[in-house]
Every structure is written in C-alpha cells, then in structure tokens.
C-alpha cells in the first residue's frame, strides 16, 4: 500500500499543468447547439495539435498510452485548470466509440475513424437505447436486413445524446429476425448523413435539446461497417459498456472535490434569509464538510480501483459502486447549494455558465439515469460483487 507517484507521474503532472495553464479556453463553453459542438471540436483539435489527445488510448492508435494513474492525474489537472466540462460532444467518440474500435474494429475501420476522433473532426453518438429498451437493452427491436453488401435498418432509437451534431453513431440493431434478447444483434458504424435517417430533438428539463429520437427508414449501411460479427453484436456492445462503466465518469469523480471546495467558498460569501452567512449555519456547514469527506473517499476509491486495474489489466467489478456514489454525491452537493443560494437558485435560463449550480442540479437526473440507472447499478453490484441470487 503506498501513495507515492513515480518520477514519471510527477513529471507528467507538471507538464500537463503547465500546458493547461496557458491553453485552456478562456471563453465559456456556449450552453447549447451547434456553437457548443464547434467549441468542443476546437478544444479537442487544440489538444490534438499539442499532443494531448487520447489520454486513454494506446500509443499504437495515436493515443498517449497513459497508465490509469496518469489518466487520473490528467483529469485532476483538467479540474484544477477549470477546463471545459469534460462531458461534451466529444465524449462518446473518445470514451467509448474509439476504444470499442480499438478493441474490436477492423484495420480499415481503425485507420479511417481513429484519427478523425482524436483530432475532433468526427463526433459520435450512441444509438443503443430505444423507446422500449433502456435498462433492458436486450429487448431492442430496431431491425437490420442484410441485403448483399449492405444492411438496411428500420426502426427508432431514443435518448441519443448529441445525435444532431454527430458524424457517426454506434448503432446496435437486431439482424436475426427470429432472435431474442442478446442473440441476433449487430453493432454497426452508422454515418449520420445516410439517407433514411431522421433526427428529432427532445426538449429536456434542462431547457435544452441535447437528446434525440433517431428514426431509420430503410437506411442502408455497408456490411463493412459491422464491428465484430453480424448477429454477435452483444459481445461488441459489452465492450462499449465496459468502457463507459470503467473510466467513463472519471472526470466527474475527480471534479467533485474541487466543486465541494467551491461550494464551501461560496457558503462563506452568501447570506441566508436570516442574514447569517451560509457557512455559519451549522446544518449547512456539516452537510458541506460531510460532502468533502465523500469527495475524498471518491478520489481514494478512484485511485484504489485504477491502480488495481493497472495491475490486472482489467476493470474490476466496482465501477457500479463508483457511479452510484458519484451521482448521489453530485445531487447532494447541488441540493445543499440550492438550500443556501435562496431565490438565486431558482433563476435559470438553461445556461451552465451563468447558472452553474442550478444546471448541475438538473443534470443530476441525467447523471443517475443515463449510462445505466442507479437501480441498475445496484442490481449489477448485487449480482457481480455480492453474488446474490438473481432478481431477474
């Protein structure tokens, strides 16, 4: 058991901190829409041009080949530099589409797509969930008919984040007509400009339209876009989900401590309705200090899990515990700040830059529902970590 960083780790931190201190965008990220997507592409391009793209990717595929621990350092430095919130329109491409292609794609797929992802040229979205297949993903129905060297897709996907701006999609469909559940599925790279695709934004409680319905009407994709094998797509999808559940939330994990500290600073300034400063209120002070303990534990868990998987080469079974605690702590922090901000908390125009705490509060449900709900994370924990009898 030890907490020492190697010389290489320390040097990496210095280098990252130095670069970020002068290169983090100084203008706030636009709240929505094409401007936000363009901002994300530009920031990604800048990281790429300066050799900082693909922290989690192996060197052979243009990434930095960092250890898990160095990725932690990178995200800590991003949080310290207050770099643009990392869950942005490049997230799917960098955090799971790219890694899925690296693990399961053909040489041609890798050569074509990976550089575009790293440079910010290509944005991706994830077309897994459907109106009637979310937690129970294996019940999905969107069908693909193999027709010569093309697959014709008909059906609909729902909740597809940033589908409007995405160039490509991770599309999971049923290609074996008689099949059920996990069998007969195929994981396909879908070019979003393909005729027959229609994207319809869904307005959310955050006053934005970042999620979408995507309709497919005999949209034809080349068979060469299949990742893994036809009818064996569940196995490829599990790779994708393992990347999402492994380090998918690392940025939020490590950002929490800084955000708790900012909330405590804020509590020293704002006044409650009784004229007291928020920090002088014992209830608020105790809540905030407890959240700091939670944030420290989240960081300790992150380091424990990552250094373990750096050794074994595999993500452990504890990613679900991680997501549970990060989302719960995020919500509790937002509620506590909401309590002390009074009426100001109840002003909201949909912009994260002007109303960060209210935005983050509303985001807490996105967080605890997308990527597998908290209930499903508890199910996974009960099955895989505790080996309890199955509920399903």
């Amino acid at each position: 058991m030890d907490l020492t960083y190697s010389d290489a780790d320390r040097a990496f931190r210095e280098k990252a901190r130095g670069w970020l201190s002068t290169n983090v965008p100084t203008t706030p990220r636009p709240a929505h829409g094409a401007a936000a997507a363009q901002f994300d592409r530009d920031w990604q391009r800048k990281q790429y041009e300066h050799g900082w793209a693909g922290v989690a990717w192996p060197k052979d595929f243009g990434g930095l080949g960092l250890s898990g621990l160095q990725q932690v350092i990178w995200y800590e430095e991003l949080a310290r530099a207050r770099a643009p919130h990392y869950i942005n329109t490049t997230y799917i491409a960098l955090m799971h589409a790219g890694p899925t292609l690296i693990a399961r794609g053909t040489d041609e797929q890798k050569a074509f797509h990976l550089p575009k992802i790293l440079s910010g040229e290509a944005l991706w979205c994830q077309g897994f969930s459907e109106p009637n297949a979310g937690s129970d993903l294996a019940s999905l129905k969107t069908r693909g008919v193999v027709d010569g060297d093309a697959i014709a897709v008909t059906g609909s996907k729902m909740w597809t984040t940033d589908a409007v701006y995405a160039d490509y999609q991770e599309l999971l469909i049923r290609t074996d007509p008689g099949s059920e559940r996990h069998k007969g599925l195929t994981w396909l790279i879908a070019d979003m400009k393909t005729p027959g695709i229609e994207v319809k934004p869904i307005r959310t409680m955050l006053m934005d339209e970042h999620v979408n319905l995507v309709f497919y009407d005999e949209a034809r994709f080349p068979v060469s876009n299949v990742v893994g094998q036809i009818n064996k797509g569940w196995s490829t999808a599990l790779s994708t989900l393992s990347f999402e559940r492994g380090l998918g939330f690392i940025g939020d994990q490590l950002d929490l401590y800084e955000r708790v500290c900012r909330a405590i600073d804020l509590a020293g300034k704002v006044r409650l309705e009784n004229g007291q400063r928020a920090i002088e209120d014992a209830g608020i002070a105790q809540k905030l200090a407890g959240l700091k303990a939670d944030a420290l534990a989240i960081r300790a868990m992150t380091l424990a899990h990552i250094t373990e998987s750096d050794r074994t080469g595999e993500p452990g079974p504890k990613g679900s515990l991680m997501k549970l605690t990060v989302t719960a702590t995020h919500k509790a922090l937002s509620e506590t700040v909401g309590d002390m901000l009074g009426w100001d908390f109840l002003e909201f125009d949909g912009d994260r830059a002007s109303h960060p705490w209210t935005y983050d509060y509303l985001w807490s449900w996105v967080f605890s529902i997308s990527g597998g709900t908290s209930e499903i994370q508890r199910e996974i924990t009960a099955d895989r970590l505790l080996d309890l009898p199955r509920a399903r």
């Binding site: 058991m1 907490l3 200090a289």
Partner: protein
C-alpha cells in the same frame, strides 16, 4: 501508488485473522460475564507481539507502520473485538522502560479514560490498574488502582464501563503531540470498517439461504439494493482508510485531514450497516442470540471515541488536501 493490502501486508491480515478467530471469536460475546480481554487472552496477544506492531524495534516493538496497525485493527473490528486491545496498543507508545515491556507482553492491562463533562468514563479492562487518556495534544497513562470508580451497565457487551469523578494527577507516562491520537483514530476507524464489512457479510450469507414466498430473500430488490448500499459504504470508508494509513506512513502533510474523513465515513458506515443488517434479518435479527445487535452496539462505542461527527466535520470544512 497502490491502495490495497499487498505482499507482506496480506500476510499480516491472514496471520491476524487466523489467530483472532481462535482467541477472540464473536461467539464469546454470548457467554455471561465481561467480554473485555481477560489476563490470559491479553498475554496470548502480547506473546504474539500484536500490541506493539507500530512501535519502534529499539523500544521492543515490531517496527511496522500505521498501515499494519490499520490492517490488524480491521481484523479486530470484524470480530467485534474489545476496545481495550486498542488502548493497550496505544499505551505501549506512552510508557517507558519496564512498564512498557509489561504492556507489550500483556502482563498488565489498560482501560481507556474518556472525559465526559466533569467525569471520566473508563472503558474496557475492568480490573486494570492503568488508564490511558488521549486527545489531540497528547496522551497520558495513569495509575487508577486507588480510584473509586463505579461500574455502570454498558450497552455494549464487548466493552465494560466504569465512571469516576476524578483522575489522579500523577502520570506514569506521557507523550506530547498528536501522534498517539493519530494511531487511536486510525485504529478505531479500522475497527469500525471491519465491523461494517462483517455486517455486510452476515446479511449477504443469510440472503442466500433464507426463503420467503418461495424465493431467497436475496432475490428481492429491497434486500439486494440495501446490500449494494452497504457494500458502497464499506468500500468508500475502506478506500479512504487505506489512503489515510498510507498518508500517515509516508508523512504526508495532509494525513490528518484524510484520517478525519476516514473516521467520519467509518462511523457512518458501521452504524448504518449494522442497522441494515438487523433489519434485513427480520425477527431473528433482534434476538440476543444473534450477532447482529452486537455489531450495532459496539459500533456506537467506537463511533464515540477518537473522533465524533461534529469535531471531525468541523475540522474538515476548511481543510485542503494535497495532490
């Protein structure tokens, strides 16, 4: 950087677990009479060197670190081990010469003295002539054999309790500074985490065998999800414990802050897990014959010593940690 027991550390855990399962099984708490360490057990533990793990070799200890100290007391906690094991292991850092040797060997026992308003609560080691008081500024070992201490009935079968209105002025040993408190807080946090883990293990085992309505209760989500929450509380507190133990070992400037967080999370995890364990056992969980209530009662005692919620959170509010 590695934040889990490793190499020799695993050997310490195995050795402690094997030894304690024989001499300090939780079943001892179902027998009548005091369940603190008796003289025989104390000498057995002393012979194995368990009280002096983190004491320097030139003082008769094993010369190990805060990490091994934490690993050992987590095993103690898993068995609802008595609090006087900890006061003994702290006292060896406070005494000198012959007295230190007798404490290391388990020849003499030591109670924990805790200030309670104008009174003192003496916890554990009911017949002991010695009492140890520890706070943030230092630690004091005193001869309490002449003290008129009144025995009180204790909620916790694992910890006897006496009350005294005075404390002798004379000290047999004294250490200035926060070091003893650091080992005390770390040891008690480790015990609480072991206890939180034991509660989780008990209910997970039971949920795999107990059936209602034709199904194992572990297949009901109300049970499964509560177990997942227990696992999370134990995991979070345990990772923070490892972080703080390693931080102390390596002399990090922010070790005390990490330790405060660890004790706070351990207090919470132990009481919440012990609570859920009783509830999820149903009726059998409230019987005296079951272990479930023992964990809950002991958790309250451990949460009361060496760092309570208000003090810990008060310090954490303004504290900042290093990278």
């Amino acid at each position: 950087m590695f934040l889990a027991p490793d190499g020799d550390e695993i050997e310490i855990i195995d050795a402690a677990a094997g030894f304690l399962a024989d001499v300090m099984p939780i079943s001892r708490l179902h027998e009548s009479g005091s369940a603190d360490m008796n003289g025989t057990l104390r000498r057995q533990m002393g012979e194995m060197g368990w009280f002096a793990l983190a004491l320097e070799e030139n003082k008769g200890g094993s010369g190990l670190t805060a990490v091994e100290h934490a690993l050992f007391f987590r095993e103690i906690g898993r068995l609802c081990g008595s609090l006087d094991v900890l006061s003994q292991a702290l006292a060896v850092h406070v005494a000198d010469g012959d007295l230190r040797a007798r404490l290391i060997s388990g020849d003499v026992g030591v109670a924990l003295a805790v200030r309670d308003g104008g009174e003192f609560r003496l916890l554990g080691a009911p017949g002991a002539a010695l009492a140890l008081e520890v706070n943030e500024t230092g630690a004091w070992l005193r001869d309490v054999s002449a003290l008129a201490a009144e025995t009180r009935s204790s909620l916790d079968p694992a910890t006897s309790m006496r009350v005294s209105t005075a404390m002798p002025d004379a000290v047999l040993g004294q250490v200035d500074g926060p070091e003893v408190m650091q080992l005390a807080r770390l040891g008690s946090a480790a015990m609480l985490i072991g206890l939180a883990e034991a509660a989780l293990d008990l209910i997970v085992d039971y949920a795999k065998v107990r059936e209602t309505f034709g199904r194992k209760i572990g297949a009901y989500q109300a049970v499964r999800h509560a177990c997942a929450d227990m696992a999370l509380r134990a995991e979070a507190a345990r990772c923070q414990l490892w972080f703080s133990a390693a931080a102390i070992k390596e002399g990090r400037g922010d070790a005390a802050i990490h330790l405060d967080a660890a004790k706070h999370l351990a207090n919470q995890a132990a009481i919440a897990n012990a609570d859920a364990n009783i509830q999820l056992h149903g009726g059998i969980g409230v019987t005296d014959e079951h272990d479930a209530h023992l964990l809950l009662k002991h958790a309250w005692f451990l949460a009361k010593v060496f760092g309570t919620k208000r003090a810990l959170l008060g310090r954490l509010l303004d504290a900042r940690v290093e990278d």
